[in-house]
């Protein structure tokens, strides 16, 4: 049976949303036209709020376009959404698994709904369970799976039969590198075996590398399209790497480059070096002085580089640099707490020895020992369910340890939790401020909750408002701020009482490259003035910003050291691994060693 050669045609599609609170409407998708070929893997990329999810939902018939026409598998989806829904599969960002049903029951449900005949199921299930490595867990309720396993089960549910078009909405958000790689292997295998047509949205641009075609969306508009090669072309001959002298953190050079927006489009730490994109028209002498005479080596452009060039060309994202450098200076003079001045730069501010946390029989954290020095950026890495969050909560004093020694900011957390807590700031993964209070009201409330009042509270509020570029937003309800603003506000609140140590739990999960750059630029600025930062992340490239990192799996410490040392541990002297490769190797080596212990246990 032959179908159309084109899976999807979008012709000048528009979609507006009415924002209830403000009465204004926003343009989610504006005049988008695109085509997706049958049997290909296509990616929709773009920053947050670019309209990727909205477009996908319109294709799935869950939303109706205001204008324009969408033909999916040759069917006008607005006229007959059911006909489309009969033939496609869709994995929403938050795949709605039925958490009280078992893995098998979830699969059965979707197989029944898609009318998969019994005769065919046995083979199909065996294959899906093998690919997802879920065969051991078929009887386990879906709610008791770890994040990565849930995501794989969600994918398996969309693949109970071979759909004519598979829509995946950010399938790898919040998933560790290991599970992320496994998810892509499954998709790739289905494409190879069944000529599946897949349309995927993603904020990880390395994922766009193996797509046949990439569409770049921004603010609802189609910014560019082409093969990955064509996207890369935008950054051709502009990408370089430069290695700073030993002992100097990468982020110092990276920040200096990123701050010079006239010369540099983008700069990120990468595999022990700094990778940057220069502007095409830049003066070579100026660039040379910016690099401090260190020679730069030209490298191949990646899709991400092309994407950054495209975004920076059309859109001025510059203002952050000045604000951050200004703020960094401001805080320095403002005196970041007398305690800091008294401390030696190498003083240990967090000391962890033989830390254990059990939940019943389950050991979430298994004899963990490390220390963090004043002013360090310290990264906690590990796959889903490795015990990162548990460790984090114990460090913040939110969860008592089962046994072990734990000293934070000079206080023993097992005894003086309340005192230690005043010395730390915490930013949780979710937005934990009052959405219906304004920016100013939130700052005032949390400031007074930390014991600030009167003139001192005013001063602190003014400082963080300036530091995080929140001026002019004082009266906006916090819940309606754009994502980047929310995060800045949350950090501002966490820093109001000038904590010595700032804890950040997956602050960059699900955010686009632009916002991540900005975020890290702020972190670098904070550490410059002596704030110690403890951070968890799923983006391995971000580990390169850290002074030292810990890799945890199944509660145990697998690696500890500078990013360079950890890369060495993974690959030895010769191999030039990037952080993600090193991470995956270390985890896999360890798991192979203890192959009897099950992988990716459920998160407590």
């Amino acid at each position: 049976m032959s179908g159309p050669a084109v899976a999807l045609i979008a012709n000048r599609v528009h979609k507006r949303f009415l924002v209830k609170e403000t009465g204004k409407s926003t343009q989610a998708v504006a005049d988008v036209s695109l085509e997706v070929q049958m049997g290909s893997l296509t990616a929709l990329v773009g920053p947050d709020g670019a309209g990727k999810t909205t477009l996908l939902r319109m294709i799935a018939g869950l939303m109706t376009a205001d204008e324009g026409r969408l033909d999916v598998l040759g069917i006008d989806v607005a006229a007959d959404p059911q006909a489309v829904q009969d033939r496609i599969s869709y994995m929403p960002q938050r795949f709605g698994l039925y958490e009280d049903l078992s893995v098998q029951e979830n699969l059965d449900l979707y197989a029944d709904l898609h009318g998969v005949p019994q005769a065919m199921r046995r083979n199909r299930y065996a294959r899906l369970l093998k690919m997802t490595d879920l065969a051991r867990f078929t009887a386990r309720p879906a709610g008791k799976l770890s994040g990565g396993m849930k995501q794989k089960l969600g994918l398996a549910c969309t693949l109970v039969r071979s759909p004519e078009l598979l829509l995946l909405d950010e399938p790898t958000v919040g998933v560790d590198p290991l599970s992320r790689r496994e998810l892509w292997e499954i998709v790739q295998q289905m494409i190879d075996d069944e000529q599946l047509t897949v349309l995927v949205t993603t904020a990880y641009l390395d994922e766009a590398e193996h797509c046949a075609r990439v569409f770049v969306l921004q603010e609802g508009k189609l910014l560019a399209e082409g093969t990955p090669e064509e996207i890369r072309q935008h950054a051709r001959n502009l990408c370089f790497i430069v290695t700073p002298p030993q002992g100097q953190p990468l982020r110092i050079l990276q920040a200096r480059l990123l701050d010079d927006a006239d010369c540099i489009i983008d700069a990120v730490p990468y595999g022990g070096s700094v990778r940057f994109i220069r502007r095409a028209e830049v003066d070579p002498q100026r660039l040379d002085s910016l690099l401090g005479g260190i020679p730069a080596t030209a490298v191949e452009a990646r899709v991400e580089d092309g994407f950054m060039v495209l975004l920076r060309e059309r859109h001025d994202v510059a203002p952050m640099d000045t604000a951050i450098s200004k703020a960094a200076g401001g805080t320095k003079n403002g005196g970041n707490g007398e305690d800091n001045a008294k401390r030696e730069p190498d003083e240990v501010v967090i000391e962890v020895r033989d830390l254990v946390r059990k939940f019943g029989d389950f050991i979430a954290v298994d004899h963990l020992s490390f220390s963090v020095r004043q002013g360090e950026i310290f990264g906690l890495l590990g796959p889903n369910g490795a015990g990162k969050t548990t460790t984090f909560r114990m460090l913040c004093g939110l969860l008592p340890a089962t046994s072990g020694f734990l000293q934070v900011a000079g206080f023993n957390l097992l005894r003086a939790r309340a005192v230690a807590r005043r010395r730390i700031g915490y930013m949780s993964q979710k937005f934990a401020l009052y959405g219906d209070l304004s920016v100013m009201e939130n700052l005032e409330f949390f400031g007074s909750a930390y014991g600030l009042y009167g003139k001192r509270l005013r001063e602190r509020i003014d400082t963080v408002m300036q530091q995080f570029d929140l001026e002019g937003r004082e009266k906006s309800p916090s819940g309606q701020l754009p994502g980047g603003f929310k995060q800045r506000l949350a950090m501002a609140v966490g820093l109001l009482h000038e904590p010595e140590i700032l804890f950040l739990d997956e602050p960059t999960s699900g955010t686009d490259p632009l916002k991540r750059r900005e975020f890290w630029r702020r972190i670098t600025a904070l550490s410059e003035v002596g704030t110690t930062i403890i951070i968890t992340t799923h983006f391995m490239e971000e580990a390169e910003y850290c002074d030292r990192i810990v890799i945890q799996d199944a509660g145990r410490l697998l690696a500890l050291g500078t990013p360079q040392e950890v890369r060495m541990q993974a690959g030895g002297e010769g191999a030039r691994l990037n952080m993600e490769e090193a991470f995956i190797r270390i985890i896999e080596q360890e798991r192979r060693k203890n192959s009897e212990s099950p992988a990716g246990e459920a998160n407590p």
Partner: protein, 412 residues
């Protein structure tokens, strides 16, 4: 799937062949028609039942709460006056006076406390240890002979309806004595104050609740409450839960039709509702011994009709609010509370202000309440049965129709 049919399995996996073969007849043709409908409905219903059984809070509301309600309304809460303490001041030592008081002793509703002086009786009354005082004065037998005997009854009026009930019990106990006397022809025309002298005697009889026990009255009403609870309150959560957990988004992009989703929700909760009904009927029959004068079949049919009304309301609320907390509050306010207060369960709708009366009459619970009580205590009154069943059926059609209309496979 242009080349799908011809492409050989590149990786040679065992599943490869059967996948391809199946694709031809499973592409999408299999979803159409009654076969697809039936298999999807069975699968969704099975899913709902599993979820229902695995979520303990469902079972607590669906089965635990009805049990508690049955026990509270059946035993704990009663509008009856039973064994009311009445102080008896017997100042006349004559056998006739003692005979009069004996009538009080015999009554199931009154338990007399004999005291020697009015002073003691007043003390008991003030301490609220008795609800009434019956005083037989020292000249009772003398005045009885003269034909104008009097017994004084003092009532504690703080609870007016209780006082009235006790008055009627006391007077009926005393008038029974007078009746006996006149039957024996001993004291012709003798009155004890309350009983009318002469030949005309008022004979009271309560119809439809001959024993005048409020259990008879409350237990059928309980069926209404429990059906409302299961139907509206429990189901108000189910669609909202799916919206909140984001499970619908993936479910929508499949051959599932909205009607199937709704039907799959209705079926298990309908069964839970019938279970509640069963518990009520058993409790009514064996625990509280409430008679059922009407036909059981009609009780069942009308209960099912009302259950559909409640389910329709619950699903409608759930689909509109898409939020479990809001849905549960709304379900309480629009269904359970009115069913408790405004349907005539406690308060007779004829005695309430016009506005409340109108609101009460707009509630489906009111019609079911009237119907179920009539069926239990009065029997098959066909006009009422047809009228109220028609009204309930109307509500069911409208509410379920609305619930179907708002359940669209759309996110905007």
């Amino acid at each position: 799937m242009n080349e799908a049919g011809t492409e050989p399995g590149s990786k040679g996996l065992p599943a490869e062949k059967s996948d391809k073969v199946d694709k031809a007849d499973n592409g999408y043709e299999g979803h159409k028609g009654i076969r697809g409908f039936r298999s999807r409905l069975i699968s969704l219903t099975r899913k709902e039942i599993r979820q229902l059984l695995r979520d303990r809070s469902n079972l607590i509301i669906g089965i635990g709460l009805p049990l508690v309600l049955i026990l509270i309304f059946g035993y704990g809460l009663s509008l009856d006056v039973r064994d009311a303490k009445v102080a008896v001041v017997l100042e006349d030592p004559s056998p006739v006076a003692a005979d009069v008081i004996a009538g009080l002793e015999l009554s199931a509703y009154i338990s007399p406390v004999v005291v020697t002086s009015m002073h003691d009786a007043q003390r008991l009354m003030l301490a609220r240890e008795v609800d009434a005082i019956v005083q037989v004065q020292s000249d009772f037998s003398r005045r009885l002979a003269a034909g104008n005997a009097q017994v004084q009854l003092l009532l504690h009026g703080s609870d007016a309806s209780r006082a009235l009930i006790i008055r009627s019990y006391v007077s009926s106990a005393l008038s029974q004595w007078a009746q006996r006397q006149s039957d024996r022809g001993m004291v012709a025309g003798a009155g004890v104050g309350i009983a009318a002298p002469g030949s005309v005697t008022l004979i009271q009889r309560m119809w439809f609740n001959a024993a005048n026990t409020s259990t008879w009255y409350l237990v059928p009403g309980l069926i209404v409450l429990i059906m409302t609870l299961v139907g509206a309150f429990l189901t108000a959560m189910v669609m909202a839960r799916e919206w909140e957990r984001g499970t619908l988004e993936a479910l929508f992009v499949s051959p599932v039709r909205p009607t199937e989703i709704l039907l799959a929700k209705i079926i298990p909760y309908f069964m839970v509702g019938m279970l509640g009904l069963g518990m009520c009927l058993l409790a009514a029959r064996f625990l509280f011994e409430v008679p059922m004068y009407g036909s059981l079949l009609i009780v069942l049919v009308s209960s099912m009709l009302y259950l559909l009304v409640a389910l329709g309301l619950g699903l409608l609320i759930s689909s509109v609010t898409r939020n479990q907390f809001l849905a549960s509050q709304l379900a309480l306010i629009t269904s359970f509370m009115p069913a408790l207060m405004l349907s005539g369960f406690f308060f007779d709708l004829r005695n309430v202000p016009v506005v409340i009366h109108l609101i009460g009459n707009a509630l489906p619970a009111t019609y079911f309440m009237e119907l179920i009580r009539t069926l239990f205590l009065a029997g098959n009154i066909w006009l009422l049965i047809f009228k109220n069943c028609a009204i309930l059926a109307g509500y069911a059609v409208v509410l379920l129709g609305l619930a179907r209309a708002v359940t669209r496979k759309k996110l905007d």
